[in-house]
Symmetry: C2
Subunit: 256 residues, 2 copies
């Protein structure tokens, strides 16, 4: 075990992100203004919201046609029927519906409240909502490639969002998209110090990093959606892994 620390820095300076910005350029500028150089062994952790905004994943609730099913669920959970319609459009399954609670399986596989459809920090009309990126792993891979093209460096990219957990209070950051990182470390076959097989056999590297990074990004007005990480062990890097690997298959879900 080396004595190299893992360093996480919340990088300020990103402007409000819109559809037509060059997100790569804005990120690189913010990094440069904060004195962060980039190495292939670094990671950039990025809040989902700016990716979704750059990809114009806005929905105008006033334009939504509400189905009978959305109306019925909205009555049960007490949410805006138009919002429920949007949530259903992003989902493959309603997991729980209760007063003030609508938990679904997102089309990406995430089990999450309100399909992670977001109405905070969305500029403009109060009837605008923001969906998750269409394919966050692809978004991460594209961003990584454009950073590589601009700088010659290809840091790992993790797109984070903050989700509630069924048995814990408070939200915690989660990796919804990733490129360049070994998202899931597989220790099957490894031994403990006594030579017995390890009970814990897979480690959610990307979620663990996303948790602390999202914490540093902050959730309030002064938040910044960009964290620079340095000091990852080299075996945490991977050219082929992505965040989809972190989804537990539906057939293994004991809590549907």
């Amino acid at each position: 075990m080396s004595l190299a620390p893992l360093t996480l820095l919340a990088v300020p300076g990103l402007p409000e992100i819109t559809h037509h910005v060059n997100l790569t350029l804005l990120i690189l500028t913010a990094l440069e203004e904060s004195g962060c150089d980039l190495r292939d062994t670094d990671a950039l952790l990025i809040g989902q919201k700016i990716i979704s905004k750059a990809e114009n994943r806005f929905v105008d609730l006033d334009s939504v046609r509400v189905s009978p099913r959305a109306r019925e669920l909205a009555a049960r959970c007490g949410k805006d029927p138009r919002l429920v319609e949007v949530i259903l459009g992003e989902s493959t399954q309603v997991v729980r519906c209760a007063p003030r609670v609508l938990i679904v399986r997102h089309r990406l596989g995430l089990v999450v409240a309100n399909a992670a459809v977001d109405q905070s920090n969305v500029p403009g009309s109060a009837s605008r909502a923001l969906l998750l990126p269409l394919d966050p792993d692809a978004s991460a891979a594209r961003l990584r490639e454009s950073i590589r093209a601009a700088t010659g460096r290809a840091p790992a990219i993790v797109i984070t969002d903050s989700f509630g957990r069924p048995w814990r209070q408070g939200v915690c950051g989660t990796a919804i998209g990733s490129a360049g990182l070994l998202t899931l470390l597989d220790l099957r076959g490894a031994s403990d110090r006594e030579g017995r097989p390890l009970q814990v056999t897979q480690v959610a590297i990307a979620d663990a990093l996303a948790a602390t990074a999202a914490l540093l990004m902050g959730e309030a007005a002064e938040g910044t959606p960009l964290v620079h990480a340095r000091g990852l062990p080299r075996h945490f890097l991977s050219e082929s892994a992505n965040a989809a690997l972190l989804q537990r298959p539906v057939r293994e879900d004991l809590f549907q």
Copy 2:
């Protein structure tokens, strides 16, 4: 947002921990040998296992009398009936029992596989198992006080364990005990940049830090159960919070 990074360092050098060691002294020695000074604004994140070992939370499975209920559950999940009896003794509720799976509500409130009873990295006979500390928040508070007494510094203490999640692959670090840290940041009443109330209103600070710290501790033979964190925002510190605050009350559990 200041440009102070959060730095996490896995600190090597702790010996195998047993009941009779002076854990405070061993931790302070390991820190010193790694060149880590301590500040009141630092945090020490510590793997549960060494706390449990120092508290002699071992159970000899050969001494366990198996109840009919444990025998029945063991047949359903395919686990050692003696281990199931120990798990039941640590639990208030069986949440899921399926082949190779026994998820319970631990007496501490944690919903966790096998009541977090551990058989890896437990020295001695293969029939020895290790329970969670009796009261991990109290363990954290005691350790903090003994560090304060020895050094005049009182860093935040977080006792971590790594648990599976219902819908995600891989384990992720969780805070099971804490002292000195604002475990749960309450943003209720705060606004987003548009002045609208934030949708996300509570942030699980201790779990987020535990996630990355447990990652750095490692799960394999070369792991070290001590992480030194520097650069926490001052408002993350609290003299009164603990990890029990992160338990979602049973009455709010939609996934029992």
